[in-house]
């Protein structure tokens, strides 16, 4: 006996039936990362680009978009086997590993939601700001470990599962053959488009452009601000999108551009040298001879304690800056100072005078009978804080 195949009439019947209730599924055939946005777009019948922009937009709220995406990736089933990552991990017996992986990812997401904008730590006996960077790094490491654990769980049994679920090539039994083939409910789905190389061309052009700009600075022996690299990248990306208006398609570049844009704007606020590396710099000189002319950091914090310097009658000049981070200066209680302070975006705190916002620039003249200082202090994104010994933090 031969199994009855669905006939043309069946197919017509199928299409005439009401469509099945739509179920939320991650799409495997039309995805950028995990297919979450594409699945949501199918579910709500909207353009996936809109959902992707929504996720990117929610990133502004302490990474909320990333957290929601991760949760959806964990718990929304795929369209291939109707199982979520969590279901698959538990079904394959690795309860401990699955639980640990889920825990790591969820904790990381929670940490990302709640990263304090500025965290003060006890540093050298005093409070200094860390910017909360360590929390973000920890969370990202936890996410990577969690994802790796999942992938390890997926590696072996997936093949067996796929074999088990594959249709058998053997002839159907009599019972199976006699069973009428039920028409499958039709689910209307947006067809996946053929891949276009335009996005790769644009990414390649962005890398080549950035490399050439960096080479040009080496050859010419000049410095180019970080913001120029972002500008070049956005220009190439924009040209790629304009080409995509008529040839190829690379709407994903819109999401990439929206992700780059905040960094580009932030970089445009950094007017101090992007040099000196990353980390912490703790300087506690006891005389003017111990001081360097300038202190620079690209990212991190500089703690400059000038309170122990003896007065030798000569003005002491110091130029210090942090491109992304905080600069804390402690002066002697009786210091006289001529102080220029500049903050691209953040907070300026000088002897109790406080200001916050973008493009802050102030000049202070501090009268005193002690050592004289000429200070030029700046940060791109962060805090410039100047205190005297008597007002010093933590004392």
């Amino acid at each position: 006996m031969v199994a009855r195949r669905p006939s043309t009439d069946d197919r017509r019947m199928t299409t005439e039936q009401p469509t099945a209730p739509r179920a939320l599924r991650r799409r495997g055939d039309d995805r950028v990362l995990g297919g979450v946005a594409s699945g949501l777009a199918d579910y709500f019948n909207v353009d996936p680009l809109l959902v992707r922009i929504g996720f990117v937009g929610l990133m502004v709220f302490n990474g909320l978009g990333l957290g929601l995406y991760l949760l959806a990736w964990l718990f929304v089933p795929t369209d291939t086997d109707n199982q979520s990552v969590v279901q698959r991990a538990f079904a394959r017996g690795g309860f401990g590993a699955a639980l640990m992986a889920i825990g790591l990812i969820v904790i990381a997401a929670l940490v990302l939601f709640n990263v304090p904008p500025t965290t003060y730590l006890i540093y050298g006996g005093r409070e200094v700001s860390s910017g909360g960077l360590e929390f973000v790094l920890l969370a990202l490491i936890a996410i990577v470990i969690g994802v790796l654990l999942f992938r390890r769980r997926d590696a072996g049994p997936a093949t067996a599962s796929a074999v088990a679920s594959a249709p058998s090539s053997a002839e159907p039994s009599a019972v199976e053959a006699a069973r009428p083939v039920a028409p499958q409910p039709m689910v209307v789905r947006r067809p996946a488009r053929p891949p276009s190389p335009l996005g790769w061309y644009v990414f390649g052009a962005m890398l080549i452009g950035s490399g050439l700009l960096a080479l040009a600075t080496v050859v010419a022996g000049t410095d180019v601000d970080l913001v120029r690299y972002f500008g070049l990248g956005l220009l190439i990306l924009g040209i790629g999108l304009v080409i995509g208006t008529w040839f190829g398609h690379a709407r994903v570049l819109i999401v990439v551009g929206l992700l780059i844009l905040p960094f580009a704007i932030a970089a445009s606020l950094i007017h101090v040298p992007f040099e000196g590396g990353f980390g912490s710099l703790d300087v506690r000189p006891t005389s003017a001879d111990d001081l360097a002319a300038e202190y620079r950091l690209a990212g991190g914090q500089i703690y400059l304690d000038l309170s122990r310097i003896e007065d030798d009658g000569e003005p002491i000049e110091v130029d210090a800056s942090v491109a992304m981070g905080d600069l804390l200066v402690v002066l002697p209680e009786d210091a006289a100072a001529n102080l220029d302070a500049r903050v691209g975006a953040g907070t300026l705190l000088v002897l109790g005078d406080s200001d916050e916002g973008t493009n802050l620039e102030q000049h202070y003249v501090i009268d005193g009978s002690g050592p004289q200082f000429v200070l030029n202090l700046g940060t791109g994104l962060g805090i410039v804080r100047v205190e005297t010994r008597s007002l010093e933090l933590g004392s």
Binding site: V46, D47, L49, L50, I53, G57, R193, P194, S196, P197, L198, V227, R228, F230, G231, L232, G233, L234, L235, I236, L237, G238, I239, G240, L241, V242, I243, G244, T245, W246, F247, G248, H249, A250, R251, L253, I254, G257, L261, A264, I265, S268, L269, H271, A345, T358, N359
Partner: protein, 69 residues
């Protein structure tokens, strides 16, 4: 890459990114004030919503794609 009907969403964002890129390269956005940022983002999002909801904002159809019966 096959020519397709114009994708106005790509064109809008392409021009926007290109203009911002040029301004950044030329240093015209140095010292930028951020007061306008959120209102502008809201306006752009609104325009985007309308564009995506309208027929002209739909995904471009490739000319060589088989047409549905």
């Amino acid at each position: 890459m096959t020519r397709h009907s114009p994708d106005l969403v790509s064109l809008t964002f392409g021009v926007l990114f290109a203009v911002i890129g040029i301004l950044l390269l030329l240093g015209q956005l140095d010292g930028i004030r951020l007061d306008w940022l959120i209102p502008t983002a809201v306006v752009v999002l609104g325009v985007l919503l309308i564009a995506l909801a309208s027929p002209i904002g739909r995904r471009p159809k490739l000319d060589d794609e088989p047409t549905e019966d």
